[in-house]
């Protein structure tokens, strides 16, 4: 097996039906999430490299902190 490289990337996805605009995700992952004029999140769609541990950690905090369970992390393989 060997060492598992952190190749590929991830995106943070929001389920806009569940989201009620609590804004916790924008506090916990400010580099991945913006808040629009109505308080709803706008999430960066470009995949982020999994090697960017700070970004991954903040995304995990956002998923855990969302009061509506509206967020999830999806792994993508075509990260830049």
């Amino acid at each position: 097996m060997g060492v598992r490289r952190r190749v590929g990337g991830f995106v943070l996805l929001v389920n806009p039906i569940l989201c009620d605009g609590f804004g916790h995700c924008a506090e916990l992952a400010p580099d991945l999430v913006h808040v629009d004029e109505w308080g709803y999140p706008i999430i960066v769609t470009e995949p982020v490299a999994l090697a960017n541990l700070a970004a991954l950690e903040s995304a995990r905090y956002a998923v855990r902190g969302c009061p509506r369970q509206a967020l999830r992390i999806e792994r993508v393989h075509d990260a830049h």
């Binding site: 929001v14 916990l28 580099d31 970004a55 903040s58």
Partner: protein, 234 residues
Amino acid sequence: MIALTSPYLWYTTRATGLVTLVLFTLVVSLGTLVANRVGGTAVGRFELNELHRTIAAVACAFLAIHVVTTVIDSYVSTGPLAAVVPFVSSYKRLPVALGTIALDLMLAVWASSLLKARIANASWRFIHWFSWLAFAIAVVHALLAGTDARSGIGLAVVIVCVAVVAGAGAWRFAARPTRAAGRTALSPLGGEPERASRPVPRRSEPTARPAPSADGPQRAAPAFPRRPRPGRSR
């Protein structure tokens, strides 16, 4: 059952009962703050949420001590079954049963929160409403069964707790927050000091904040269509 009795068990039951009431008052109030979208400037919304979760865990620990010391104190016979099944205690049947019902409701809230990622969010929210009922029943339990809650400091504490939770409840129903009230400025994981004063990005304007590192996220089109949602009510 082994005769296990000590005034200290009784003292512990009384003390933890009162402390549990105070802690759940805090938990309910903090939960109301989260639900009403308080925070984002001086204190983060996520911080209030974390406090809510953490104090809830502490309150459950005190509740557990309260129940266990009541059950193992054989001076009055409640019996282990009375901890979870209402109306089986031979001592103070109704007051103890009310405490049991409140405990069962809190167990439901606790279990649903532990399973939050596995169950539908609507179920979790529905079960979370039980906590108001549990608090009300627990107060009646405190007044009927409590040694200290009918006079002096104990009564004062109960009155303050009831007033705080009643105020939180009234606010919860009156406020009906429709939106998140714009951006929030606090994050534990790095942030830019000027973020709080930055203007909210306009619709068609790509956000120009620099990425945190070379391979960090790049600004791109919004993840989902940004339709206005005027006056969206919950």
